[in-house]
């Protein structure tokens, strides 16, 4: 059956679109799920898919999906591979990986409608460069700017560093084309807004391939901003900082960047601008100069005496180095360190408790932890996110399985505290396979809805099984 499937795929798409060499399958067997970056150095080996298919257009993509469906083999969509939750990780040797990297055409940019169309496999850094050249910006700057693709970003409901002004990918995606599990192609028109039943984009936004594959997207573009204002403020601690941000957001303004870093995150980059133990708030506003000036005035009034200005230099440092982590990400595993990031969100009334309880509990319960810090990086009228950064040193006698348990213990604490305090288990990395365990506590009665959707579209559970919801 296997060789039959492969030959069918080959005759439908062409010999060179179906890769069976071990090297090619190995490359697309994993994403950047943190624990693997350590386990790889402890003898852990990925599960390889049956083959990798590289369709060149929507039509080929649809054909590939249909053939897999007929043969009842699992399908894993693969984008930039920068996901951090195992969404694109293969856990079944029968699976077929569909890598969309050849769907890489960029369409027309409309100045009048301020939008652009691009295929799912276009790297966001390439699309950004393309629109920049024409005088526009995408307004979407995830830290994985160098790594992620447009389809992957939509599929994980990603967010960028300037989100407080421009929104998450869900605010930027106007329309799209997708392929359903039976191989049908669907199109969702790009319109500014509509009232035509539930919004179908949301089946794909954050779907992580669970009921379809994103083939093409139409996203907003913005004219390049004219002016910028930057300012950093020192505050006594994280709680005080959260309070300042809450008051600013309440004014209804949308500075592009609103961040709060706790003491541990400040020590290294901003130590020269503050006192020990303080936290630091960073603001950046951009757009027309009158708008920027108005936002500046409001921020200065609201901050008042609650925080002390630390000038604009810290914001420049952040801007220059905001994506360095993407370079360092793989180094830790080699040193035997487990490093991960966990992002959750909560309402203003809960978020301080989530941050403090989590830090206390991890610190008390997991003695291997060397580093646990948090920042708030995406704020809203009603609340904000916390992005925890964790480093742990497993003892040298731990096996690959033990390390996985240690990793899980940390995750369990953070997700438990989040749910207990009314927060959401995921702010922007998505669920993948690693986080699916917590979906029941997150969705409660809603889980049934999600399962019903899954069943209706994908009755054989072939689309990226184990992602979002456990298969059983």
């Amino acid at each position: 059956m296997e060789s039959n499937l492969i030959s069918r795929l080959k005759s439908a798409l062409g010999e060179d679109r179906v890769l069976t060499e071990q090297e090619q399958r190995t490359k697309r067997a994993t994403d950047l799920l943190a624990i693997r970056l350590l386990q790889r150095h402890m003898g852990w080996k990925p599960t390889l898919p049956l083959c990798v298919v590289e369709p060149e257009n929507t039509e080929e993509l649809a054909r590939a999906v249909a053939i897999c469906r007929e043969n009842k083999v699992p399908i894993i969509p693969y984008g930039g591979g920068s996901g951090v939750l195992g969404g694109a990780e293969c856990r079944d040797t029968n699976a077929v990986v569909i890598d969309v990297k050849r769907l890489n055409k960029i369409g027309e940019l409309s100045d009048e409608d301020l939008c652009i169309t691009a295929e799912a496999g276009v790297m966001i850094k390439d699309l950004e460069a393309y629109v920049n050249e024409k005088g526009y910006i995408l307004g979407h700057y995830p830290q994985s700017m160098d790594l992620a693709q447009m389809g992957g970003l939509v599929a994980t409901r990603s967010i960028g560093q300037f989100s407080t002004q421009y929104g998450g990918i869900e605010d930027l995606l106007l329309g799209m084309e997708g392929v359903l599990p039976n191989g049908e192609v669907v199109e969702i028109k790009a319109n500014p807004r509509k009232s035509a039943g539930p919004d179908l984009r949301h089946i794909f936004l954050g779907g992580e391939g669970f009921v379809g594959i994103v083939a093409r997207v139409t996203v907003k573009v913005f004219p390049k901003p004219e002016a910028t204002w930057k300012q950093a403020y020192r505050v006594e601690g994280t709680r005080e900082g959260l309070e300042v941000i809450r008051k600013v957001m309440r004014e209804g303004i949308k500075p592009a960047v609103v961040r709060l870093h706790d003491w541990l995150e400040c020590e290294k980059p901003y130590g020269a601008f503050m006192e020990e133990d303080e936290s630091l708030i960073l603001f950046l506003c951009e757009g027309a100069k009158e708008k920027v000036r108005a936002e500046q005035e409001i921020i200065e009034r609201v901050v008042g005496t609650d925080a002390i200005s630390a000038g604009e230099k810290p914001v420049d440092i952040w801007l220059a180095h905001r994506n360095d982590a993407a370079d360092e990400y793989e180094e830790y595993g080699k040193q035997g360190l487990l490093v991960d990031t966990i992002e959750i969100s909560g309402n203003w009334s809960d978020i301080g408790n989530i941050y403090e309880n989590t830090i206390d509990r991890v610190y008390d319960e997991v003695h291997e932890v060397l580093f646990l810090s948090g920042h708030s990086s995406h704020s809203y009228l009603n609340g904000t996110n916390i992005y925890f950064q964790i480093g742990a040193m497993p003892s040298p006698d731990m096996s690959s399985d033990d390390v996985e348990k240690l990793h899980r213990r940390i995750w369990d604490i953070i997700e438990e505290e989040t749910v207990k305090n009314g927060g959401a288990i995921a702010h922007h990395h998505g669920i993948g396979k690693h986080r699916a365990k917590y979906m029941e506590s997150e969705l409660g009665s809603g889980l049934k809805m999600l399962k019903t959707i899954k069943k209706a579209f994908d009755p054989d559970f072939l689309m990226n099984p184990g992602t979002l919801i456990n298969c059983d």
């Binding site: 601008f273 230099k313 793989e330 060397l370």
Partner: protein, 581 residues
């Protein structure tokens, strides 16, 4: 009770330093700061000593602005018992000589020291000269290259350790007081736990100002007191752009592989050119110190000849080496004395020479003994000393010394305020000395030196230097190569051409090569003369690992590939066709 002090430093993070595009000067605050990486070995050694001997009382010391407290917190978290912060506006702009002076004053202020532990060097200034100078100011002996701690005896305070320098590994018994300098990377990396970090945050850091020190005169410190000054600073990253080779590739590649010339794209050569253009003929008095290796000494002379057209160089050495160097030197001054060690003899000999002749400059090799000797002389004679020079300029009868800092990201041009300028010279940077037509004259000098070394050698063995993972010529295999057969062919091609090889990340991901072979941000940074990039797109993540390669050649079939704007030579086409010849 054994008092052990550890000197730590907070340094700008070299990975993230930036320079002003116009002036080339360092934007210091933009870097953020981190504990100096080599200090971890110092802390690790301290922690082993403390585990071995409960009598130890330890303190961490730093000199620097307020963010330096982070380094002290880290030392406290990892076991130092108390912490002292020397912080005073008067200290701004101190060079390594003054830094060592201020630290030694601080140590004397805190109390009597039995041992002082220092990291091998700081990543920002890279001199490695502070430990030797501290030892000289305190009158201690100084032991570089410690790779293993064995034990310490609480009663006699003497300790046994293993050191390794220039191919010789010795187990030695050291008596206190002494400065100990562990070899960078030799001790296990220590990480503080969250618990230890929090405990350290609650501890007191004792602040010390210049007015607390025995020498409380602010004029003894800072920029004005420093004996070396910065003349200019430029970023060391040259802009490369590919010259496209569109015919006779085979010959071109062969030539590159055979060529010893490394002018093109050479980061250091380029940025030196930017410091200043003057190239006067230098008619000053110059000396090079010979420690035993004729090739190294030949490079010291070659540096002066090739860089500043020095017409005459005198070599200073111990008597039994005189015949080795007379062919390359214009003059040899050979020291002899009864009953002293080789190093003590050379030390006193060079000091006598400087006092008698007052030369313009004296050069030393930038190895452990060269650094040790030069820093002792600098302290004894109060002379400026510049470490690990990679270039020289002769201007207004003054030797301007060019040296890289921040792991070669920045070039600084430095001059000494007094003559002679002392400088250590980085190895493998300069051509050998021209062979003289006549042998240099040997002048013998009797020197008064006494035996000062305070250690006993327990055992000694020669060690082979660790083989370098990447040689002078490196083949970088990119994602264009994805089958095992093609890959194996390329590895063979590299070996046939006496090259070592590395890969981009996709080949690691595909299981074709082991992790150690990855080049780039999360792999190795290669230092080599030549690298050939085959089917490499030129992503920032790969290129970060090739910054220090002198000449880069890329072969890629895509004429628009990013890589062509980041290499010196480019060949457009299928690598299989191109390498056929």
């Amino acid at each position: 009770m054994i008092n052990v002090y550890i000197c730590v430093k907070q340094v700008p993070d070299s990975k993230t330093i930036e320079t002003d595009p116009l002036t080339g000067s360092l934007i210091r605050e933009s870097a953020g700061s981190v504990p100096n990486p080599a200090d971890n070995d110092a802390i690790s050694l301290l922690s082993q000593m403390q585990n071995n001997c409960p009598e130890i009382i330890s303190a961490a010391i730093t000199m620097g602005p307020k963010q330096a407290r982070a380094s002290l917190r880290e030392a406290l978290a990892l076991g130092a018992m108390s912490a002292y912060h020397l912080d005073d506006p008067a200290l701004g702009g101190s060079d390594s000589y003054i830094t060592a002076y201020a630290l030694s004053q601080t140590i004397m202020h805190i109390g009597k020291a039995d041992y002082v532990i220092c990291g091998e060097k700081s990543s920002d200034s890279d001199t490695g000269q502070v430990p030797g100078a501290i030892a000289e100011f305190l009158g201690f002996s100084c032991y570089y290259g410690i790779i293993e701690f064995i034990e310490i005896d609480a009663k006699s305070k003497s300790m046994i350790a293993v050191r390794e320098n220039e191919g010789i590994r010795q187990t030695i018994q050291i008596s206190s007081p002494a400065v100990l300098v562990p070899k960078s990377g030799a001790f296990p990396k220590l990480y503080s736990s969250m618990r230890e970090k929090n405990a350290a945050r609650k501890k007191d850091i004792i602040k010390i100002s210049v007015s607390d020190l025995a020498d409380s005169n602010p004029d003894s410190y800072g920029y004005n007191a420093s004996l070396t000054k910065i003349h200019a600073m430029v970023a060391a990253a040259p802009k490369r752009s590919a010259k496209i080779i569109d015919s006779e590739y085979t010959d071109f590649i062969r030539e590159l592989l055979c060529s010893e010339n490394d002018e093109s794209g050479n980061a250091i050569a380029l940025s030196k050119a930017k410091c200043t253009d003057s190239k006067d003929l230098a008619d000053g008095v110059f000396a090079a110190v010979h420690l035993g290796d004729t090739h190294i000494t030949s490079e010291l002379i070659g540096a002066l000849q090739s860089e500043i057209n020095a017409s005459k160089v005198t070599v200073l050495c111990n008597e039994h080496y005189a015949n080795d160097v007379k062919l390359i030197a214009n003059e040899v001054i050979a020291f002899s004395s009864a009953g002293s060690s080789a190093d003590d003899l050379l030390l006193e000999g060079v000091i006598d020479y400087i006092e008698e002749i007052s030369p313009d400059a004296v050069l030393f090799p930038a190895n452990v003994r060269g650094r040790w000797l030069s820093s002792k002389i600098a302290v004894r004679l109060k002379l400026g000393l510049t470490a690990s020079c990679t270039g020289f300029i002769w201007e207004d009868n003054k030797l301007i010394q060019i040296r890289p800092a921040f792991e070669d990201r920045l070039m600084t041009a430095i001059y000494s305020t007094k003559k002679p300028a002392l400088a250590t010279v980085r190895e493998e940077m300069f051509p050998e000395a021209k062979k003289a037509d006549t042998e240099g004259k040997i002048i013998k000098k009797q020197v008064l030196a006494k035996y000062s070394e305070k250690y006993k050698i327990i055992s000694e063995e020669a060690v082979k230097p660790a083989e370098k993972q990447f040689s002078d010529k490196v083949l970088v295999i990119g994602n264009a190569v994805s089958s095992k057969t093609d890959f194996d062919k390329l590895v063979k091609w590299a070996e046939d051409n006496e090259m070592t090889w590395g890969v981009t990340r996709p080949l690691i991901q595909g299981g074709l090569a082991p992790f150690e072979k990855q080049i780039g941000v999360s792999g190795t940074a290669v230092k080599a003369k030549l690298a050939i990039l085959l089917g490499v797109s030129g992503s920032r993540k790969t290129m970060a690992g090739l910054r220090l390669v002198n000449t880069l050649l890329a072969i890629n079939e895509d004429p628009d590939a990013e890589v062509f704007s980041q290499v010196d030579y480019g060949i457009i086409g299928d690598y299989k066709q191109i390498l056929k010849g």
